[in-house]
Symmetry: C2
Subunit: 393 residues, 2 copies
């Protein structure tokens, strides 16, 4: 879910079309507000026909998949490739979990909330996450005014007595920090959103093994258009309720998207094991490393912003010390408390998302690091210009 | 939505696997409970490679579609083919409507409820539909205990003073009857579920032209596994709110499913215009006519059941008088009020859906007419056996 994009709800749907142009420069605003993972296109283009998948007219007519999974609409090929990839990467324990597929992990967050909310209570259960939290969580929790659950805000200030659900995004969206549960109350239920727990973003320090873990192909391989996410769920009854949510909500998940996702994940696993192929994670980690180095250089060169530092950690996948290279940069203005960093960057035709949307303040913005090269280059160029025009020295 | 399958929620997900066998016959129960449209496979198989569509690794990575539609995730190819097919068939006015795509029409029902529910009221708006109504409507309205809307039951007994939303399924699921609004209050908002308003099921008597109309590829062409539905919406603000629902719920709709649906709809339109191709609707109408004739013969030959008759109407598409051949048979037992028709048929290894699920009573059952040939043939054979074993003469 953190791999998805809540900005779409509140901001312009077609930012390029609605981009504001100043009088000096008629080029459009660079949109780094949402995390559209188009950066990965270059890898997939280089793979040629290795990932091609063809559907005939008589394929996949039924609502049902052919597998024997508890999740009756889960294609067995996808189940197999999800299991294989987690085993290859070592980022999650799959074996004693049920797999539930969703239309992106957004839907799985809702399914998990549905499954974990008590159905015998008059009052909705509180859903919390530590600030800065993924900006879509409040909307996803409250948009239909559910009587099952309600948004409870910052986990750091939540009163731990009583039942609650805590969303733990790790690495965190927006700031890339590795997270643990915050509330630690007796009656808490935990949802781990692990959309970014892949080697291109962070060191794989151990296979995650929680009760409910969410992943999405959007941020793993860049195929956001497919809308495929999956949950690894320990408890059978929770998995069953999540499946039921998906039944009522959308009667399952597109078979074409599932089968294509299976193909893509298969190629990613192959690329990690077959030395004649370009390792997907090495390739994408290298791109991210380059982008982060260049961004840090620009930020260092000016006197306006700070960005988070991440301690290097030993990665079990790359078998090396790795720095984190998150999918988003969490930029903090050095200005005073009244600084509006989003506004400042927008004046320079860089569209970002204000820290206010993440339960933080307007000195922060979240910036996508996953755009196409040309957009990323223009972004850095414009960031340098800000430095020049507002030089405080 | 009526093209989908609420049974999945409450009954066994893998009915074949859990089928009960009696001591005489070890063959599995025939599942005609849900409307899985596998009947159409034979047509698509005959079309060979005409519907093939191939996706490469670098296709459709973005959340966004390339079109300029208000519905920012709608693929322009799908928009084009939806418009074309409605124009070819003449079953709906598209031109002055916005198109919103959904993950099946289930999701669009929820999106329409979200968009039409007042957001400034303390009490949820009542959602009603005349009995027998599609069995999934109550669940879809109430499953997350929304504070925006609540299930209000039978439209026929609904008090017309005050605001409400009425779901009008036409032809109706389960009974195939052509429907009009029932409540006709001053403050009603109407959602027309037209999943079955296609020539194989009923005469196209005029192009529908309502404020909110829902369609699904599941029951139009049989591609239920794709999970593609669409809404035709007159009011821009309603279309915008439905799009927003889809953003929060699933951040759009799978691009693979949309593009494949576009291809399938293109071939269907072509088949209606190109005389060298087998017309899809003629083919499927012919199959349905045959099945209905055989079912009526069995029902006439025994003294246990009644099925609905439908008056022939002039069809603007076929340019001929057409009888209706609904996707479901609504079978009514001639037994007394205490008759449990679902139980009776289950004893003969035919799994159907009880009338109770549709707000009706246990003398009725809904039976899918869209199964594969072999299952339909076994169904008729077993229905004949019931006649034999319970002969009242």
């Amino acid at each position: 879910m953190s791999g998805t994009d809540g900005c779409l709800v509140k901001c312009s749907l077609f930012p390029c079309a609605s981009a504001e142009n100043d009088t000096k420069d008629t080029s459009p605003t660079i949109v780094l507000d949402h995390g559209d993972p188009t950066m990965y296109e270059s890898y997939w283009r280089k793979m040629g026909h290795k990932c091609d998948i063809t559907f005939s007219g008589d394929d996949s007519l039924s609502y049902f998949a052919n597998g024997k999974s508890l999740c009756w609409f889960l294609e067995s090929k996808l189940e197999e490739q999800i299991t294989r990839l987690h085993n290859v990467v070592g980022n999650a324990i799959v074996d004693d979990h049920y797999i539930v597929v969703g239309t992106g992990s957004s839907q799985l967050v809702q399914a998990a909330l549905y499954a974990l909310s008590p159905s015998d209570q008059l009052e909705p259960i509180s859903v919390v996450s530590a600030t800065p939290f993924y900006s879509a969580y409040p909307d996803v929790t409250d948009f239909v005014r559910s009587g099952l659950h309600k948004w409870g805000g910052d986990a750091k200030t939540f009163e731990k007595y009583g039942p609650y659900i805590e969303l733990i995004t790790s690495p965190n969206n927006p700031d890339g920090v590795i997270r643990e549960p915050i509330v630690n109350g007796d009656q808490g239920k935990l949802i781990f959103d692990l959309a970014y727990y892949w080697p291109q973003y962070t060191a794989i320090t151990l296979p995650a093994n929680h009760d409910v873990m969410l992943f999405t192909i959007s941020k793993c391989t860049g195929h956001a258009g497919s809308r495929i996410g999956w949950a690894l769920v320990k408890d059978k009854e929770v998995a069953r309720k999540m499946t039921k949510f998906m039944e009522i909500s959308t009667i399952g998940v597109s078979k074409e998207a599932q089968l294509r996702a299976a193909k893509i994940l298969e190629v990613v696993s192959n690329s990690c094991l077959d030395f004649t192929l370009k390792n997907f994670f090495e390739y994408s980690q290298s791109l991210m490393t380059d982008r982060w180095q260049r961004l840090r250089q620009v930020v260092t060169d000016n006197d306006l912003f700070v960005i988070q530092n991440y301690p290097p950690q030993y990665c079990l996948f790359t078998k090396d010390l790795c720095e984190s290279h998150p999918a988003f940069a969490w930029l903090i203005s050095k200005g005073g408390e009244e600084e509006d960093c989003e506004k400042l960057l927008k004046e320079h035709k860089i569209q970002t998302r204000s820290g206010r949307r993440f339960g933080s303040d307007s000195r922060n913005v979240r910036i996508s690091m996953l755009s196409r090269d040309e957009d990323f280059n223009i972004f850095l160029k414009r960031l340098m210009v800000i430095q020049g025009s507002t030089n405080r020295t």
